[in-house]
């Protein structure tokens, strides 16, 4: 428990650092004794999970902190046995159905049904429902989502579902309408800075404000990453200096150099080199959407203003096609190649204009 992100994570709704108004709303919601299904959305590192956990604590008390990892096995229709590990307390169950890939429907159906179909024995001093937390709900397949929607209604009396997702766009409208959508926006840079300084104060460290701001910017409003960066900075060199280098994760550095390679030369050979790097990224399990985002971010910074829209369109187009297909490398390379073609054409035209 000694990583700062774990150590200084607020455990109660009342102790949250930002979005306090929202926290108040949630508290009221829970104090009412009942609450609907929730769909918590927001970017990574904004504090979705922290809020969910705090909410559960508000609901059931500290008993929710007694967690255990359970390995459950589910049988698919084709008699294939699936192993899935869940984190559970006495009051709730947390599951990530996308761990089992395309069989997530079975997991959703089986786990929630078994949990929800049993009533509480005594409902006097206890909530009469349990909570199922489904993380990465936006990665659920359509089948699983459709399987979920009837379950949500049918077992309303015994079970509440909290869905965590980065974006609501991949959650089908039927589910969205059954849930109370709680959006958790990313903290602002100022909020991050204040949080970092708070933490450092608790650690009895002196964090220069410049460095804190630098970290906030580099973290791209991802609080988890900001705190980790801060801790890493501390490990690398303390006392802090305001000009200290803030290191990025390796894969991001790698992506940046890849993007630079693409911009610097457009040829089949370069494409081949880029492919090697893309393979490297994929083999390190970097998600493809992260690759697309990273590349696009870097490329857009380097290209002329009039190309930006087109490049973004290309990236979106190819990412969409990637989701339709299965082999990521073709789509990634297709994006790179089409960018190269576009950029080369643009460069040559500009050259012609110059002379």
């Amino acid at each position: 428990m000694s990583l700062w992100i774990d150590k200084y994570r607020p455990k109660e709704l009342s102790k949250l650092d930002y979005h306090t108004e929202q926290a108040q709303h949630l508290k009221q919601l829970v104090d009412g004794g009942d609450f609907p299904h929730l769909l918590v959305t927001g970017p990574s590192g904004a504090g979705k999970k922290t809020r969910v956990v705090a909410l559960l604590r508000q609901l059931y008390g500290p008993g929710t902190e007694k967690l255990r990892i359970e390995h459950q096995s589910v049988l698919t229709a084709s008699k294939k046995k699936l192993e899935i590990s869940t984190v559970a307390s006495n009051y709730h169950l947390e599951v990530n159905p996308s761990d089992v890939g395309i069989h997530d429907r079975v997991v959703v159906q089986e786990l929630i049904k078994t949990l929800a179909s049993s009533h509480q024995l005594d409902t006097v001093g206890q909530r009469d429902f349990k909570v199922v937390v489904i993380v990465e709900a936006d990665k659920l397949t359509k089948d699983a989502q459709h399987g979920l929607r009837r379950t949500m209604e049918k077992y309303m009396s015994t079970c509440r579902i909290i869905l965590c997702a980065n974006s609501t766009s991949k959650v089908i409208p039927a589910i969205r309408s059954r849930c109370l959508v709680v959006r958790v926006p990313a903290p602002t840079n100022e909020q991050i800075v204040s949080i970092l300084q708070n933490i450092c104060k608790k650690e009895s460290l002196n964090l220069p404000i410049q460095l804190a701001e630098k970290i906030a910017v580099k973290s791209r409003r991802n609080l988890r990453r900001a705190i980790l960066m801060c801790e890493a900075c501390k490990v690398e060199s303390y006392p802090f200096s305001s000009t200290q280098e803030v290191s990025l994760p390796d894969w991001e550095v790698f992506l940046r150099t890849t993007a630079n390679m693409i911009v610097s030369e457009q040829s089949p050979n370069r494409l081949f080199e880029v492919r090697g790097r893309l393979y490297e990224l994929l083999s390190h399990c970097v998600p493809t959407n992260a690759i697309f985002q990273g590349l696009l971010r870097e490329l857009i910074q380097n290209v002329d203003g009039e190309l930006k829209a087109e490049v973004t369109r290309l990236a979106a187009y190819h990412e969409h096609r990637l989701n339709l297909g299965s082999k990521a490398i073709y789509h990634l390379e297709a994006f790179v190649a089409s960018f190269m073609a576009l950029y080369k054409k643009f460069l040559e035209e500009n050259m012609a204009d110059m002379f």
Partner: protein, 1053 residues
């Protein structure tokens, strides 16, 4: 027989019926075998003379016993010329003497035939009596054997009577004597002194001599009788000898045979007549039917080595290989190589002389043919693997060569059962046995056809067999007896189409792999021409060449097409072939050939035939070049059309070819990968990477389509897939020869990816659940782990931890805490160079670090060692803490037990009914239950509990100790019971436990509950005993060193 009987009238008779006599002799020659029954009769009249003449015989001459007399000529006197002469002369004398009584005796004979006893008594050597006697002995012997014989005998007797009468007239008997006797031989003997072969009847004479009568000769007897009766019929008109048979028997027989033959012929002729009438109508069809009954492929199958169309070198290599077996199979020494070579050289020289090409020298054998023999005389390569496209004649070659080398080919193909057991038995049968019933006693040669379709276990079996591991699976032999390993004793030829089948992989290094080159088109066309000529199918060589080319030199399909054309039309034209659907069969192409097709523009083939109609007109070319296709392809097309001497490869041709080859391979995913990994190295024209973007677009399309097909199972979309490759071909094809490598990148990448995934899942599964909640796999990977690896490696001074400042200590502690929370540790590993290093386990470095040149900070070896040690120490410490805590609890438990009687029971024990950890009850009991059940279900929760109990002491628990749990929960509950009941469980706080009151000293009580006062003396005695003894012990629960003894230094020194 009768001839010499009447002696008096002999001469005149002879003179009168000379001609008839001749015939008679002939007849008797024929019926010689049947006449021996009458043998005794022959000598009837000369019993005495025979006795005299047979003085040299074995029979005692003294007693003129009729049996003895009878037996003499049969048993001892063989038809000997001189003897007979002698005998007949004597007999004539006798007959002459007794001539007068002859007629009487005949009548007498008939009368007396029944008086056996009387006849036997008469020992007078009177002729008639003797004659009668003889006959009677016959009847006697026969009647004793079987009643129906009597009838026959009577008939014979009657017949003889007649013959006798005739003989009296006929005197020419003497000359025929020799003739009658001649056919007699040992077989015809009826009466034996020794045991005869076959059935017999034993007869004992008065003297006690025992003779044997063969039974099986009755049949002949009967036959003779029948014939004689038959012969009597024509004789009715006259009593002449002629009447017996007018025509000699042989002639009759011949005539009968001729008649039979004639009849058969007549029948045949009549049927033939019917046939010919129908045949006249449709003679042509009749011929065709004959043809169709056998396929041309069968009819024109080569039967000799020299007839083979396939490549000479291949043939010779195969033959050479099979000859290597000669030493083992036939025991022949191989001829030394020298003369062979010389011969080859001579042949070469001859060729040189003839063609004047000195530089032209073909290698005679395949280079991979290993000529070495093993110690037992078998060749090193025990198996021949023939691979090649279908229809080239692989099977034919194998059969012919096996036969040519003196083997009997035994084929095993896909139609046979090729399961492991069946395969084993058939291999055993074929290689270790030989056919017994067949005419040819040659050794077997096993030909395994279509081996590429055989199941992998069967092939493994074959591999084992070849490598000498035996066939296995035999009945387990008895202990002690060494099982004889089955070794391959006969050549095995395996035939396959595709040598790259996975199942064949283990077989290939052991075998001589002969790739069957396609037959030369010219050679094939020539043979086809011959066949066409023979069959009267009008065609020309050009058409046949095209046919051969189109079918890819598939002899079988060529012949099938020719036969088809013959049956339909009768003439084969070039246009027919181009329109025919031949050569479009399911033709498997390798991946490499498909990739080659994609990346290269087919070279225009040399014009074999110039057909002006087939040449594309310039207008079409223009149309092509105007079409909206990629620049490269159009330019190449136009260049191709400039050469007029060659056939032009049109765009549509290329389209068709690539499409077909892709379809024939049908591993689209693999083809696409091959293209994907090879296109950057290929030369293609581009200005703005257009081919690449287009190609990748198509690749994405294919990927999407495949995903869709698999998701929705709509296989109708499959048809679109091969067209992708046409587009790729048009974009990337060039005239340069592409260097194609097999795609590996993707599989490598997937392997690495899988490894990373397993690392992360292992990390996740053993993480502390409280940190686990906040770390989903992608977050962990992208955010946490990269920094974690930095955070876990602060600068540690490589000194003893005792010397660390408090800050450093805190730092170390936090690192260790984190490592334990994320289930990380350092383990010592030995690198390849033999150096030891500490590696993080699970190795997150591997996951986090990408292949960049930045040097990452790493802890020194010593620091790592330190951390590793500290992590272990901390783990131990925590578990120790846990145990000590547990013990404390135990102590509390025991104390409380003593209080238990005093304290009011306000707390219930946890109900055993509540099993479900999720079903929490309100109030105290719910707390208890949850505590207990959570502890039971997971050790981690105990950690939480402990934390709440003893201010923040983390502990590593061992799986459930129920007692400890129970009492802990009880403590809580007892304390909780003081709280306000109305407060809901989740709002309750855990409060520090008040100190327990010291337990009252428990007084011993007696049965009735009164306090017992122990006697002082007892107590004193007890203390005294302890004090007195030098050794005293105290039992400490939970410790092994229960017995303590004080040992002084001086005792030791």
């Amino acid at each position: 027989m009768d001839n010499f009987f009447p002696a008096d009238a002999e001469d005149e008779f002879e003179m009168l019926h000379a001609a008839e006599m001749e015939m008679m002799k002939e007849m008797e020659n024929e019926a010689a075998s049947s006449q021996m029954q009458d043998g005794p009769c022959v000598f009837n009249g000369s019993s005495q003379s025979t006795v005299q003449s047979s003085a040299s015989g074995r029979v005692s001459p003294v007693p003129i016993d009729p049996f003895a007399v009878l037996s003499q000529p049969n048993a001892s006197v063989l038809p000997n010329g001189s003897l007979l002469e002698n005998r007949s002369a004597k007999r004539r004398l006798i007959l002459d003497d007794e001539d007068t009584s002859g007629s009487d005796s005949i009548t007498d004979w008939a009368e007396k035939s029944t008086y056996n006893s009387r006849n036997n008594k008469r020992r007078k050597p009177l002729l008639p009596i003797v004659r009668g006697l003889v006959d009677q002995t016959h009847t006697n012997s026969h009647s004793s054997s079987a009643d129906p014989d009597i009838a026959i005998i009577k008939r014979i007797v009657r017949h003889r009577e007649r013959l006798l009468q005739q003989a009296l007239i006929d005197k020419g008997a003497v000359g025929s004597n020799a003739i009658i006797n001649k056919p007699r031989d040992i077989r015809s003997c009826t009466i034996h002194f020794r045991l005869p072969e076959g059935g017999f009847q034993a007869v004992t004479s008065n003297d006690g001599d025992r003779i044997y009568l063969s039974l099986d000769e009755d049949e002949d007897f009967l036959k003779a009788g029948q014939r004689l009766t038959l012969a009597r019929c024509p004789e009715n008109s006259s009593s002449h000898i002629k009447q017996l048979l007018q025509v000699p028997f042989s002639q009759l027989k011949e005539a009968a045979q001729a008649e039979l033959h004639r009849q058969a012929e007549r029948v045949v002729r009549s049927t033939e007549l019917n046939q010919t009438t129908s045949e006249l109508d449709a003679q042509e069809q009749e011929e065709d039917v004959d043809d169709e009954s056998s396929l041309w492929t069968e009819v024109y199958k080569p039967t000799h080595y020299l007839h083979l169309l396939s490549d000479e070198m291949t043939n010779r290599s195969v033959l050479h290989w099979i000859k290597l077996w000669d030493k083992f199979v036939f025991g022949k020494e191989k001829k030394p190589r020298k003369p062979n070579e010389q011969a080859a050289v001579k042949r070469e020289n001859w060729r040189e002389n003839k063609f004047g090409k000195s530089q032209y020298r073909q290698p005679i054998l395949l280079p991979n043919l290993n000529e070495e023999l093993e110690a037992d005389g078998r060749p090193v390569q025990k198996l021949l693997l023939l691979c090649g496209a279908p229809g080239l004649g692989k099977t034919t070659l194998a059969h012919i060569i096996a036969r040519h080398a003196g083997y009997r080919p035994v084929e095993l193909n896909a139609s046979d059962d090729r399961s492991v057991d069946a395969f084993r038995s058939s291999i055993e049968n074929a290689t270790s046995m030989r056919s017994v019933l067949d005419v040819d006693k040659r050794p077997n040669c096993l030909i395994i056809d279509e081996i590429d379709g055989a199941p992998a276990p069967s092939i493994k079996l074959l591999v084992n067999l070849i490598s000498g591991k035996g066939l296995g699976g035999n009945a387990p032999s008895k202990k002690g007896t060494k099982q004889k390993i089955f070794i391959l004793q006969r050549p095995v030829i395996a035939i396959c189409n595709d040598p790259f089948v996975t199942a064949l992989r283990p077989l290939k290094p052991l075998a001589l792999v002969v790739t069957f080159p396609p037959t030369l088109s010219t050679k094939l066309a020539q043979r086809l021409q011959e066949i066409c000529n023979e069959r009267g199918l009008s065609t020309d060589l050009t058409a046949l060449l095209t046919l051969a080319h189109k079918t890819r030199n598939d002899i079988r399909s060529c012949l099938a097409l020719l036969q088809f054309v013959k049956s339909k039309r009768g003439a084969l034209k070039l246009s027919d072939i181009e329109g025919a659907a031949v050569g479009q069969k399911d033709y498997q192409q390798s991946l490499f050939s498909v990739w080659n097709n994609i990346f290269s523009i087919p070279r225009p083939a040399k014009a074999r035939h110039v057909n002006p109609h087939n040449l594309p007109s310039p207008t079409t070319d223009r149309r092509v070049s105007n079409s909206t296709l990629a620049d490269s392809s159009t330019t190449l097309c136009s260049t191709a059309t400039t050469s007029t001497t060659s056939t032009i490869v049109t765009l549509s041709d290329r389209y068709r070819e690539v499409l077909q080859s892709a379809m024939s391979c049908s591993e689209y995913e693999k083809i696409l990968q091959g293209w994907f990994e090879n296109y950057p190295t290929c030369k293609f024209k581009h200005t703005h990477l257009e081919p690449v973007t287009a190609g990748l677009d198509w690749a994405c399309f294919l990927d999407m389509l495949r995903t869709e097909i698999q998701k929705s199972q709509s296989w109708m979309l499959q048809g679109f897939l091969p067209h992708v490759f046409v587009s790729l071909h048009l974009n990337f094809a060039s005239h340069q020869r592409p260097k194609i490598t097999f795609p590996v990148q993707h599989t490598e990448q997937t392997a690495v990816q899988q490894r990373t995934e397993t690392l992360i899942t292992s990390l996740l599964n053993h993480m502390n659940p409280s940190s686990r909640v906040f770390a989903a796999a992608p977050l962990l990977l992208m955010d946490v782990l990269p920094y974690l690896s930095t955070i876990l490696q602060p600068n540690f001074r490589p000194i003893n931890t005792q010397l660390y400042s408090s800050k450093e200590k805190a730092e170390l502690l936090s690192v260790i805490d984190t490592m334990i929370a994320y289930n990380l540790t350092y383990t010592q590993e030995r690198s390849k160079e033999g150096q030891y290093s500490f590696v993080m386990e699970p190795n997150i470095e591997e996951v986090v670090r990408l292949n960049s040149n930045v040097n990452h900070r790493q802890l020194s070896y010593i620091a790592r060692q330190l951390v590793a040690r500290e992590v272990e120490m901390e783990k131990v410490r925590r578990s120790e803490l846990y145990f000590s805590q547990q013990q404390q609890e135990k102590k509390l438990f025991s104390e409380r037990n003593s209080i238990q009687t005093a304290i009011d029971k306000s707390v219930d024990k946890p109900s055993p009914l509540v099993k479900n950890p999720c079903d929490a009850l309100p109030g105290d009991n719910s707390m208890v239950c949850s505590e207990e059940s959570s502890a039971r279900s997971d050790k981690k929760s105990l950690f939480q509990k402990n934390k709440s109990l003893c201010a923040n002491i983390p502990s590593k628990s061992t799986p459930g100790d129920d007692v400890a749990k129970d009492d802990a929960s009880e403590i809580i509950s007892s304390q909780g019971s003081n709280d306000d009941e109305s407060v809901p469980n989740h709002l309750r706080k855990l409060v520090a436990k008040p100190l327990l009151k010291l337990p009252e000293t428990k007084m011993p009580r007696d049965f009735f509950g009164r306090v017992m006062q122990s006697s002082l003396s007892q107590q004193n005695k007890a203390t005294n005993d302890i004090v007195k003894s030098t050794v005293w012990f105290r039992f400490k629960e939970g410790y092994s060193n229960a017995v303590r003894r004080s040992v002084k230094m001086k005792d030791l020194v």
